[in-house]
C-alpha cells in the first residue's frame, strides 16, 4: 500500500493565531504539524530576554501549545516540528520535558537542532577573513562599529531529518528555513537522497506554499468575496506520497478556499527570481511548477525541478540602528486634507524653530490614498489621519519630536482629535543585515532527550 502523509502548518509567523495549531490538530487527520515562530528580527528580542534570564529566549507560546495538547499528540502519534527554539533551544527543550513529566508521559522524545547561533563566533569569522557583507548594500559587517544583537544562520534541513530518524516526536530548532520544516518530514518518511534535487525542490515548494499559514487557503486572497467561512479558516495541509507530486488541501469541515488561484498567489509571495529559489538544501525552479484543480479544495502540484544547492548559507544578523517614533492625529472635515497638511507644516516648522531637524521625516495622510499614493487618491476624504514619524541616532531628538504632536489639538486648525496613548516615545530600531557564509564553517548539532 502506498504510504501517504499529511503535513499541516499551524503557525505562519510570530504572532499568528494561537488557536490555529489546535484546530489543525483536532479538525481531521494529520501526521505532522509544523510551526514557524521566527521573523527576521525576532532573534534580537529573544537574545535580550536570554540576557535577562538564562532560561528564556525562545517562543513561550509553543510550550503553552504543547502543554495544551500533548496527551492528544502522543495518543495519535502526531509529530510537531517548530523553529520555536529561538536563541535558547536548550531551555525550550527543558521546558518541554517538564511539560511531558507533568502530564505523566513516558517514552516521549524531544529533540533540538542547534548550530545556527553564531553571535559568539563572529570574531572567529572575522579572523578567518569572512566579510559577512550585506547582501543588499555590499558593505562589510566589520567595516564599521555596530551594536550587533543577534546573528543566526538559516540552517540546512539535515538536522531536523536526523532528529526524526532518531524517533523524536517533537523537534525544536533555532533558525531553520521555513520550507525546511515541511521538507524534513518528507525526507524522513520517504528516504529521499540529499542529491535528488527534483525531490528536494518538490518538498521545498510544498514548504513555501505552507509557510505563511492561511495565505494559501483563502487568506489575503484577491477575490476575498469567494472565500467561505473566513472566521473558521482552515490552515493548509500537504498530502504527499512518494510519487513526485503532492496535494495542497485543508481540513474538510473548516472554512477557507484552496484553488489554483489561492495556491498561485502564495507561490509568488516574497518571490525573487522564480528560476532560482535558493535554500540551504537545493535551488528550486518555480518556472517548472504545474498546478491542477482537483476540486473540493484540493490542488495537485507536480513537475517541480531542482538544481544543486549552493556552497553558502544565508545569515540573518540584527543590529541596533538608532531610534524612531511615530505619532498620529485625526483631522475631521470640512477640508480635512487641507487642515492635515497645515498641521504637518506647523509641526515641522515648530520643531525647526526649537532647533530640531530630521533626515527624511515621514508625513502620511491616511484616508486620502497613502498605500496607493499616486495611483488612487481622494483628497476630498471626510476625515484624515495625519501620521508623522522621524528616526535619528540621537534618542533625545526623537523624544523631542514626540512632544510636538498633542499641542496641535489646541494650537492648530479646528476639529483635530484622536491623540490617544500619550506622547510617542523613541523606540530602538533593530535593523536587519542579510549576509552569506561558507557552508563548511557551520556544524549542525542534534540532541534528543527522552522522558
Amino acid at each position: 500500500m502506498t504510504k501517504t502523509i499529511r503535513i499541516g502548518n499551524g503557525q505562519g509567523f510570530w504572532g499568528d493565531s494561537i488557536d490555529a495549531p489546535i484546530r489543525l490538530l483536532r479538525g481531521g487527520p494529520i501526521d505532522y504539524i509544523t510551526m514557524d515562530y521566527l521573523a527576521e528580527v525576532t532573534m534580537s528580542i529573544m537574545q535580550r530576554q536570554k540576557l535577562k534570564n538564562a532560561e528564556r529566549g525562545y517562543a513561550h507560546d509553543f510550550v503553552a501549545f504543547i502543554d495544551k495538547v500533548l496527551p492528544e499528540l502522543v495518543e495519535r502519534n502526531v509529530k510537531v516540528i517548530a523553529n520555536a527554539g529561538g536563541v535558547n533551544p536548550e531551555a525550550c527543550q527543558r521546558a518541554l520535558m517538564k511539560v511531558a513529566e507533568k502530564h505523566g508521559i513516558e517514552g516521549l522524545k524531544v529533540a533540538i537542532v542547534t548550530g545556527d547561533d553564531i553571535l559568539h563566533r563572529l570574531e572567529e569569522f572575522r579572523g578567518k577573513g569572512e566579510a559577512l557583507a550585506n547582501m543588499d548594500t555590499g558593505e562589510g559587517l566589520f567595516d564599521a562599529e555596530r551594536e550587533i544583537l543577534s546573528a543566526n544562520v538559516y540552517m540546512p534541513t539535515h538536522g531536523i531529518v536526523e532528529a526524526l530518524d532518531q524517533g523524536a516526536q517533537i523537534v525544536v530548532t533555532g533558525r531553520s528555513t521555513d520550507p525546511g520544516l515541511v521538507l524534513a518530514p518528507l525526507i524522513h518518511e520517504f528516504g529521499w537522497d540529499w542529491q535528488d534535487w527534483d525531490k528536494l525542490a518538490l518538498g521545498t515548494v510544498a514548504g513555501h506554499i505552507l509557510e505563511c499559514g492561511a495565505q494559501c487557503t483563502g487568506g489575503n486572497f484577491t477575490n476575498w468575496r469567494e472565500v467561505p467561512g473566513m472566521d473558521d479558516i482552515g490552515y493548509p495541509i500537504v498530502e504527499a506520497s512518494d510519487n513526485g507530486e503532492f496535494v495542497v488541501t485543508k481540513h474538510e469541515r473548516q472554512g477557507g478556499l484552496v484553488t489554483v488561484d489561492t495556491v498561485s498567489e502564495q507561490l509568488l509571495y516574497e518571490m525573487g527570481d522564480p528560476q532560482n529559489y535558493i535554500t540551504p538544501d537545493c535551488v528550486a525552479d518555480f518556472s517548472t511548477i504545474q498546478l491542477e484543480d482537483l476540486g473540493d479544495d484540493r490542488v495537485r502540484v507536480f513537475g517541480v525541478k531542482g538544481k544543486p544547492s549552493t556552497d553558502f548559507l544565508k545569515v540573518s544578523i540584527s543590529y541596533l540602528n538608532g531610534y524612531k517614533a511615530v505619532g498620529q492625529l485625526t483631522v475631521s472635515g470640512p477640508e480635512a486634507y487641507d487642515k492635515a497638511v497645515k498641521c504637518a507644516e506647523i509641526l515641522w516648522k515648530r520643531l525647526e524653530h526649537a532647533g530640531y531637524t530630521y533626515h527624511e521625516p515621514m508625513t502620511e495622510y491616511l484616508g486620502v490614498g497613502v498605500c496607493h499614493e499616486g495611483i488612487v487618491e481622494n483628497l476630498a476624504a471626510p476625515e484624515v489621519i495625519l501620521r508623522v514619524g522621524v528616526k535619528d541616532p540621537d534618542r533625545a531628538k526623537v523624544d523631542r519630536f514626540g512632544k510636538e504632536i498633542a499641542p496641535l489639538v489646541t494650537s492648530g486648525p479646528p476639529g483635530v482629535t484622536g491623540f490617544a496613548g500619550g506622547r510617542p516615545k523613541a523606540a530602538e530600531i533593530v535593523a536587519y543585515w542579510p549576509a552569506l557564509l561558507r557552508k563548511e564553517l557551520i556544524d549542525v548539532h542534534v540532541k534528543v532527550e527522552e522522558v
Binding site: 486572497f221 518571490m271 522564480p274 518556472s287 502620511e364 495611483i375
Partner: protein, 110 residues
C-alpha cells in the same frame, strides 16, 4: 479596443524583499497572460508606482503559473523595522497594481 483595469484580467499578491517589494500578477486565463505579458512592462509598472517605487523595477515571466513577478526596488522607506511607512512591507502593492489600466480587444472576457 477597450481599456480595463488589470483587476479584470488578473489577481495579485505582494510582500517585502529587503527594501523593495515583490508583486506577483497572475492572469485568470492563457489569453489574459498573453495580454499582461505584452502590456505590463517594466516601464509601465515603474510609472504606475512612480510615487512609491524610487528604484529600478525587475520583471520575470512565469508562464507555467500564467504570472509575472515584479521587484520594486527602494519602495518601502528603508524596509522592515527601519521603515516609518504604514505599509512597510509592501503588502498593499499587489492591490495597487490591479488598478492599472491596459488596452484589450473589444471582445475580451477574462
Amino acid at each position: 479596443m477597450k481599456r480595463v483595469k488589470l483587476a479584470e484580467i488578473a489577481h495579485a499578491r505582494s510582500g517585502d524583499k529587503g527594501d523593495g517589494s515583490n508583486v506577483g500578477l497572475i492572469a485568470y486565463s492563457d489569453r489574459g497572460f498573453e495580454l499582461i505579458a505584452r502590456e505590463v512592462t517594466v516601464e509601465r509598472v515603474k510609472a504606475h508606482f512612480g510615487k512609491i517605487c524610487l528604484g529600478e523595477v525587475d520583471r520575470y515571466e512565469i508562464p507555467n503559473l500564467r504570472a509575472l513577478n515584479f521587484i520594486l526596488h527602494d519602495s518601502l522607506g528603508g524596509g522592515g523595522t527601519e521603515s516609518l511607512k504604514t505599509d512597510a512591507q509592501g503588502k498593499t502593492h499587489g492591490m495597487g497594481l490591479l488598478e492599472m489600466e491596459i488596452e484589450v480587444p473589444e471582445n475580451f472576457v477574462r
